[in-house]
Symmetry: C2
Subunit: 313 residues, 2 copies
Amino acid sequence: MDGDETVVADLVTTACSGDRRAVARLLTLVERGGEPADAVAEATHPLAAGAQVVGITGAPGSGKSTLTDGLAASLAEAGRRPAVLAVDPSSPLTGGAILGDRVRMEAAATAGAFIRSMATRGHAGGLALAVPGMVRVLDACGFDPVLVETVGVGQVEVDVVSVADTAVVVVTAGWGDAVQANKAGLLEVADLFVVNKADRPGAHEARRDLELMLDLSEVTGQAVDRPAVMLTTATEGTGIDDLWSAIQAHHGRLVTEGRLVGRRTRRHRAEVRSRLEHLLTEAVEDRIADLPALPDGVPGTVARRLAAELLGE
Amino acid sequence: MDGDETVVADLVTTACSGDRRAVARLLTLVERGGEPADAVAEATHPLAAGAQVVGITGAPGSGKSTLTDGLAASLAEAGRRPAVLAVDPSSPLTGGAILGDRVRMEAAATAGAFIRSMATRGHAGGLALAVPGMVRVLDACGFDPVLVETVGVGQVEVDVVSVADTAVVVVTAGWGDAVQANKAGLLEVADLFVVNKADRPGAHEARRDLELMLDLSEVTGQAVDRPAVMLTTATEGTGIDDLWSAIQAHHGRLVTEGRLVGRRTRRHRAEVRSRLEHLLTEAVEDRIADLPALPDGVPGTVARRLAAELLGE
């Protein structure tokens, strides 16, 4: 056992005894990547008990943070041990999240939920690598459920949410959002829709638009389990309990219909695939960096030659 | 010369003689990928004359399509041969672009610009693979400039725009958009900002907010060439000519300061890297598909073992 592994093993023991600072340190190690992150993965994998993972995504301004805050607060008050992993898009220019996202989730934090924000940019390997490992840490430390909140704007965010046990997509009033959700590919991954800000004009129309799009998808035969469309007003706490009931109902169907195992196998495969692609990309970068100059010529031809060399063909 | 290559060579000859249907067919071949796309790349690479490439990106609703339409129309009327490559996010659920994006760009089409829409989803290999090859076809067929329009919501779209000669980022009034542009990493890649819908309240404040963010980035020493912030009202055609002048001024600085070569080398490298990563990802998928079952265990460990096998280490 080398130095990293000893430190990590101690941290894991401390974290599992309920020390939240130790949990935070483990999460930081995973977020930074590299060998310490690998050591954390090795140590926490056997401890992970299979916590329920709920993905929550939506456009900026949809109120999904407030909703996640309310949900986590309500779960903590009900005696559960929820953790929130909030993924903030941020810029290297300003060095972090701009809107002070780290001070959101006040209700949940006060109620005892564990809250962690992470930036989507500027850390090695990206979201698809860090998030599954961070969920594993939280699971190993006894948090359940783990709520993963992301901004649903990019493919990576969609991928992260789509491997949750239950993927919740938050929209607000107006046709525009339903269309945007569709464009972003969220209709396909959503297990549940939430029309938030239900007190505003157009919320019921937004629900109807979503139902219409779902009708269309049933016609094309893609829906296995038609997503419910819930209405919430997160700022007032309205609809939060019903939302949790709907999440539980979805999770219950996954269990009774034997589909939970499939979801988790898919999650495992997605993580292996992301890591494998990352390792190969690193090998590519190393190979390109080793070249005195990138050969001129048709890029596809240059790439095929380099790939053949790399794969030893 | 096999069948594909003969067909492609004939198509390229026809396309270069000014037959727009042949150009469209070449673009379709590139978009579909595979061996025909490779044959098109081989055939068009020597013909590409180095057309000016302008990337235009912005959030949904920023009016960037109308702006691109106006710009292309104005260029065509001035005797240039502009082409537009408009990247539409779309959903496999509905089988294509939802808002009828293909019927946008009416002014430009009427004025004689070549317009091509492509969907971001559902075609093999993705945007990063298809766009550079499509630009090469348009360049080889004598179109200049080539305007590439994407929705600036995902990393891939940002990457596509960031390798243009000039990257134009379109925002609208309101602090929110400047913040979103920053969050999406657009501040770093923009060579020019456009505050569109300048006739609406808040446009001048949006410009000031952007200037403020740019001041901040100069302090951190990241700006080589500070982006200008232009005001346009695309629906009225206001500011379009000034925008083109600003694009030309930026392009002129790239040329006189010897930076255009660097940009294009970066574009070449980015394309080789995307293709290489794609080829290796395909090798990964093949390898995973060949396994009777993905091994259980810590995903990182499983991935490292598979990577070592693949790379013959």
